[in-house]
């Protein structure tokens, strides 16, 4: 660890400076008594003046004034004729006395100002150096504990103080004290720390809030809500000067910034890990998809070619059709499984665009047309439907799944209704069947993955409705299952109707 010059609070001791002024006066007076045999009493005033100016280099304004008065009076009493009286005889000497006063005071004032500036400059430099060392110390800190450890060490040394760090409560966790703190806060002190946290302001010793307590509490905030509080209590029990407080606040800000940076770096690493595992998952899904579909494609092609050739017996013809329809079914299962896997691993990324809901219904109907051949399909599309913001492909898949579901559970020759209706600020896409309906106590569980109603007949994977929900949720919609009056079930997809974009009319 680097060492920072210790800067104990420098107490201001005025009596020492007054004593120095008095001592200077006494010394110079003795010197002048000795000198007066060689030089005139007027030159002696100049020696006094020199002493005052020199004194101004070391002491404050009050002691200078004191020294100036002392030397002026001393000169008039001891040296100016008539001697050993404060009375000054000649007009020339009176003028001399007055001028001495003015010159001494002016020079002393200037010197004192110069000195004050020099002192301030020196302090600034010390603070800058302390801050620099502090920053460098934190720069190569590792994790959060290391950062705080170094902060506590540095502040403890620079301010001769005990230091504690309190973490803000987050994610249901209570506020906790950093275990390496050199100061354990009691309950009332913790309350002050909490006050600093919630108000995001400095409280405690020397501040507006609770100025009489032992410590000062600084929120560790880098622009946003504070992550914690830095509590500092000087060993001497003295209040910090305003400059020291500035420095301490700088330290606190620096610590907060470094903590923030650390947090962002952690988040970045996590995101990277996450996207890496996501990429792996996607690659896996893609290759599984490819491996399952290639043989399916081969079977479908083979069966199709077989059926189209005109050399088959009726039996062979029928069997090849069975192969084809089984392949199509297997393909739907594979498709469902892959979609469910995509939803489960959070890889559904809707590509939102403006869609015509009627078009969604039509496309879905076209896709499942072979499955619906045994049913009557009623299509109810409200005229003048608004465009909705959604992912066309996912929406179509969702409606397709609802249709497949209806085709699976409703008997042949029953009617399946599919509708698109705008209702207030919501658009409803609904598929209703005259099937067996749903158990009333399971309506809410219909869209769960692998959930299958106990009464449901074999067939179906328990994936279809879960996929509907996954796809609809991903684009900000919701789903609902209900029983119909007169028997059967209705499955609904609700989507928010946004404000469709302007389509400027043609001028022609």
């Amino acid at each position: 660890m680097d060492h920072v010059d210790e800067m104990p609070p420098a107490p201001y001791k005025p009596w020492v400076e007054y004593a120095a002024a008095l001592g200077t006066f006494a010394g110079v007076s003795l010197l002048n008594l000795w000198l007066q045999s060689w030089i005139g009493y007027q030159a002696i005033a100049l020696v006094y003046l020199l002493a005052v100016v020199l004194l101004a280099l070391f002491v404050g304004r009050g002691p200078i004034l004191f020294g100036t008065v002392l030397t002026a009076l001393g000169w008039s009493f001891i040296f100016a004729p008539p001697r050993y009286s404060f009375h000054i005889g000649s007009f020339y000497d009176k003028m001399m006395f007055a001028m001495y006063f003015i010159v001494a005071l002016t020079v002393a004032q200037l010197t004192a100002r110069l000195r004050a500036e020099q002192l301030a400059e020196q302090r600034r430099e010390e603070h800058a150096r302390a801050l620099y060392v502090f920053t460098r110390e934190l720069a190569d800190a590792g994790d959060q504990a290391d950062i705080l450890d170094r902060t506590i060490g540095q502040i403890g040394k620079v301010f001769q103080a005990d230091v504690a760090v309190v973490f803000a409560a987050s994610n249901g966790k209570q506020a906790t004290q950093f275990s390496q703190s050199t100061w354990r806060l009691d309950n009332s002190e913790q309350a002050l720390a909490q006050q600093a946290l919630t108000g995001n302001q400095v409280v405690g010793r020397g501040t507006q809030a609770s100025p009489e307590t032992a410590g000062i509490y600084l929120p560790l905030s880098a622009g946003s809500a504070p992550e914690g509080v830095l509590a500092v209590r000087t060993n001497s029990g003295q209040e910090l000067s305003s400059e020291q407080r500035d420095l301490l606040e700088n330290f606190a800000r620096q610590t907060a910034l470094v903590l923030e940076r650390q947090r962002l770096r952690d988040a970045e690493v996590r995101t990277k890990l996450l996207s890496e595992s996501e990429r792996l998952g996607r690659t896996l899904l893609n290759s599984v998809s490819h491996e399952l579909r290639t043989p399916l494609a081969a079977i479908a092609t083979a069966a199709g070619t077989l059926r189209d050739s005109d050399q088959l017996t009726p039996l062979q013809q029928r069997l090849s059709i069975e192969i084809e329809s089984a392949t199509a079914r297997l393909n739907r299962v594979v498709h469902s499984l892959l979609n469910a896997a995509r939803i489960q691993s959070g890889q559904v990324r809707p590509k939102l665009d403006w869609c015509d809901p009627a078009d969604v219904v039509r496309a879905a109907l076209r896709e499942v047309a072979p499955l619906l051949a045994q049913h009557r399909v009623e299509k109810k599309l409200q005229p003048g439907l608004p465009l909705i913001r959604g992912d066309f492909t996912l929406l179509q898949q969702a409606v397709t799944n609802l249709l497949v579901n209806a085709a699976t559970y409703a008997k042949a020759d029953t009617t399946i209704e599919v509708s698109a209706v705008a209702n207030g600020n919501e658009l409803a896409l609904e598929v209703s069947d005259r099937g067996p309906g749903l158990p009333p106590d399971e309506l809410n569980r219909m869209f769960e993955l692998f959930h299958r109603a106990p009464s449901s007949k074999p067939g179906g994977t328990g994936l279809g409705l879960a996929i509907v929900k996954g796809f609809v949720d991903a684009q900000g919609g919701r789903v609902q299952a209900a029983n119909r009056p007169g028997g059967g079930a209705t499955f609904s997809i609700f989507l928010p109707i946004g404000k469709p974009p302007e389509v400027s009319e043609e001028t022609a």
């Binding site: 092609t301 070619t305 009627a358 465009l387 492909t393």
Partner: protein, 234 residues
Amino acid sequence: MNSETATLALSVLIIDDEMQIQRLLTIALESAGYKVSTAGTGQEGLALIARHRHDLIILDLGLPDVSGLLVLKQLREWTNTPVIVVTVQDGEAEKVEALDSGADDYVTKPFNTAELLARLRASTRRANQGQSREPVFTSGDLKVDLAARRVMLKDQPVKLTAKEYALLRLFIIHAGKVLTHRQILREIWGASHETDTQYLRVYLMRLREKLESENAGPLFITEAGVGYRLADAN
């Protein structure tokens, strides 16, 4: 067997890395009267295309060596041979990019043979007719006379705005072919509206309202996430 294909004996190049798919497609296409050659990699495919003339190319986008899209872009630099790409389900972005890069059509794995053969025939027809197409398009009750700019539905004239007509005309010129959103928007509304899908949706709604009747089946077929195609009358 179709007498048209039998007499022409069109040549098809299959570029696919899956040997089993290659073999089966070969059987299916040969039994439909095509002359088939195969390539297992993109490089091999490009080399074959450079050496021999083919009437059609079937290109799997998931090739092991170079991406199928790259092969497509490279061959489009010097040949207009119709290309039908084979993609996976959920590969909408890939399909769009392939179509925008000059693919003629696509089929999704697993496809059925009848569908593939229909796409092949449609592509061949479009490639052959070139500019010399019939000036009158007919589909169901709809009759469009491109020369006279006249649209008739059930022998009644239909009034279309200039943009609506331009859109319909674009579809008719490319009847049966998938047009991506981007292609249509660029053609009708200009490059600056390339992503304004809402224009397309709204105008499609209007055209459907004016030209489609629910019981005759759709005229404009929506290809989810990709684009639209005009139902091919033939």
